[in-house]
Symmetry: C2
Subunit: 521 residues, 2 copies
Amino acid sequence: MTSAVSGEISAADLSSALDGFVAAVGAEHVLTDEVSLREFRDPFAFETWDDYTASAIVMPHTVEEIQEIVRVANRHTIPLWTHSTGRNNGYGGPAPRVRGSVILSLRRMNRVLEIDEELGYALVEPGVRWFDLYEAIQAGGHKLMLSCADLGWGSVIGNTLDHGITYLPYGTNMGMQCGMEVVLPNGELLRTGMGALPGSRAWNLYKRGLGPTPDQLFMQSNFGIVTKMGVWLMPEPECYMPLWLRVWRDGDLAAVVDTLRRLMLDGTIEMVPQIINTILFASVLSKRDLWYQGDGPIPDAIVDKMARELEVGRWMMRFALYGDESVVDLRFRKIKEAFERIEGAEVWGTKYAPEQFSQIENPIEQVQAGIPNLDLNQMTGWYGGEHGGHIGFSPVGRDAVALRDLLRGMIERQAGLDYMVAMIPTNARSFVHVTLVIFDTANEAQARAAYDTSKLLVREAAKQGYGEYRAHLDFMDLAADQYSFNDHAYRRFNETIKDALDPNGILSPGKQGIWPSRLRP
Amino acid sequence: MTSAVSGEISAADLSSALDGFVAAVGAEHVLTDEVSLREFRDPFAFETWDDYTASAIVMPHTVEEIQEIVRVANRHTIPLWTHSTGRNNGYGGPAPRVRGSVILSLRRMNRVLEIDEELGYALVEPGVRWFDLYEAIQAGGHKLMLSCADLGWGSVIGNTLDHGITYLPYGTNMGMQCGMEVVLPNGELLRTGMGALPGSRAWNLYKRGLGPTPDQLFMQSNFGIVTKMGVWLMPEPECYMPLWLRVWRDGDLAAVVDTLRRLMLDGTIEMVPQIINTILFASVLSKRDLWYQGDGPIPDAIVDKMARELEVGRWMMRFALYGDESVVDLRFRKIKEAFERIEGAEVWGTKYAPEQFSQIENPIEQVQAGIPNLDLNQMTGWYGGEHGGHIGFSPVGRDAVALRDLLRGMIERQAGLDYMVAMIPTNARSFVHVTLVIFDTANEAQARAAYDTSKLLVREAAKQGYGEYRAHLDFMDLAADQYSFNDHAYRRFNETIKDALDPNGILSPGKQGIWPSRLRP
């Protein structure tokens, strides 16, 4: 682990700030006890590691309370590490980059403020989880679908702000956000887009305003605290058809991604698929020990055996069609014909009308129907059983096969770990190559090796031109370092904006490698 | 006209700066003669108005020359007003906000740097017009379609940076930009997204990078000079079917927009339509004098006559389908059935395979096929003949009917002009209500009245919660003023960023109401 940058937080300043936070939100919403502090660490960190431990957690309930907290933090130069619900597993969880930061947890701000069925949108607070928004849609009887993430406990806003992936049509290009309210580092309240015009009813309907659009500036950054966000919801289609593609040879990947690209570019597939390798799929269905107890990565012959016996193939693709049944039928035939040109490939699926969605049992088919669940969480048990953890290493590229070769080589040969991957085309033109480095969190040596491996991957992938789409807390700086065009012009640009908006450097210092001037080397 | 803010440009500073510009680009690319200065004014301004006249035009050919020009401008505090090609007609053309600014014209940077047919994108310079990119696609034999604007002489980058509207599927949410190179106000070169990672081949394939995404910060702003941009191109579909909808009663608008919203929300129509009223359509096909010579707006009975005799109805919608022919057939039937529930409504269209695109004769059907032309430019002749000009007043709203009532009332009753409108849903949820205030540019009183009317519209529409999506040079400040939530928090946010990135305030001061500190009131 890199050592935490010192926030140079004095005990006196912290104590004064805590008094201010208590005055703002009440003593019961400022947590400083050991149990709470442990709860807000990276859930996969080894138990004695404390580089990313907070000094307190403050949990406001209103925008005004956040504004007051920010003013107090400025007064005492106390770093605030914001999360919405903090379910950022694989990337550091709720833990702050700077040891001793105060966590600003927005879990209590969990109201769905508006759902408009006719126009297909919701306005939510940061503590609203996928579960909450889904339930609000159902409770209102709205015929709308939510493009949700794989795990339903995450925050809709938090996921969006970390460039998180969702899978329904509106997940394409991560495009479902429309309009924001933001508390700036000076405590001021900003509304973006049409929200800046008093009385506008287009805040959550048109993605820009007059002048520059700052919304994406508040994603993967530390420039503000998003307190409200518009989310587009898709009308329920006449027909939803979750689909599966299975191929039997590792080398079929090339034909799969080429065929998929054409079907996404021509609009036949309009959502976000996942291409999953045998071992990753097996981790959801099975336990590693049942297949292999030897040292190093599982040999290829055993992977083939798993592929056959678990019936998951060497690659499995999850995807879906949405639309009028007549169009879905045409597209299914076209898709099936295109992929089944690959020897041994199979494509299958089941059609559901909206009134049948509640009968969907497969958790992946639920996710693709916008029904959040937690079933996929069990894959982290591959190595560690109940102590399993993972690190996400997720570079972006156009070429799935070259990335597969590079990463599989490093993970198996240099780290001796199993290669577990989901290739996720968030649009027709590129893949996020989500590599899961899975380890036993109770085994310090294995945990340390997992972090070392991940950092090796960051460096080596960058040499080949691949950068991460999202970085783990422990190597955010390293990952950001790779974006070095013109002597790190992008980082210096971010620093210029950071210093202008947050001169005291109080908001999430170090987030995605962006440091305020007082903490820069 | 509002008086121009003084840039406090001293003759000595300007002279020194011009020497620097000549050293950077050569004397033949620094224009200061009267004829050139007139050419770079707002083409619709009355001839004696000089509030927005430049002192020189400098025309670089390379990024390095731009960097040097920016350094010179900083040294002498000379405002640079950037345009790509400057075809911003209806919003001020190429003219600068601050009188005496030096225009930085990027017309000579007109190279199409890359076209990738397999992945469907191009990388272009700012001087590349719709015509140029279309021709490069054709010359390369690429089976790709360009989502283009109504007039083909505009810059692809310039249109994108002004939130300009295009009409093919990729025009939805103005979504076809991917990756930028930017010269910052200090002369530094920035690449956004994956372009910040040396050797990345995903710069124009994935819309973000690691950390905040600044691309939209460089649109409708004065924070940088975009020198390269990725543009997504759509593979040619099996079938392109331009469609027309015509209705005969003004009151049918409500049913048209409700039906359209449902068909866009459910994905049946996946592009950017235009709903055009009788008079706007007539302005392309005909001359006003043929219909009416009286004072004030054309009476409703005559509009009905025009609707019948020109066969354009009271409202005409231009739109299109793209895709596999079997899907297009299904969707056409669904669309026709949905709209023809409106009494008297008709929907019709013609199917084209890609090899038939060259046979398309209607200029609107060409635009929707990505074939740029200039035919629609003639509408400005409605009042002024060859001296016709227009001002675009373009608020955004969810409700087409309420906006129609508000704007028609003001334009007819208060300004005595004809109400000419294209309602453009850039997504399923909202309309840009492009109102054309058309006048005779050779008639000073009529020209002044047109500006007065436009400003009245800005104020009155804002009282009802409607703001402009793009503002004319002459009332950028007024339009931006309406975005006043929380005591103009958005403007102050923009000013903070402006001052941080451009401390000398040299880049396009006043653009979209954003002023550098030295020029703020």
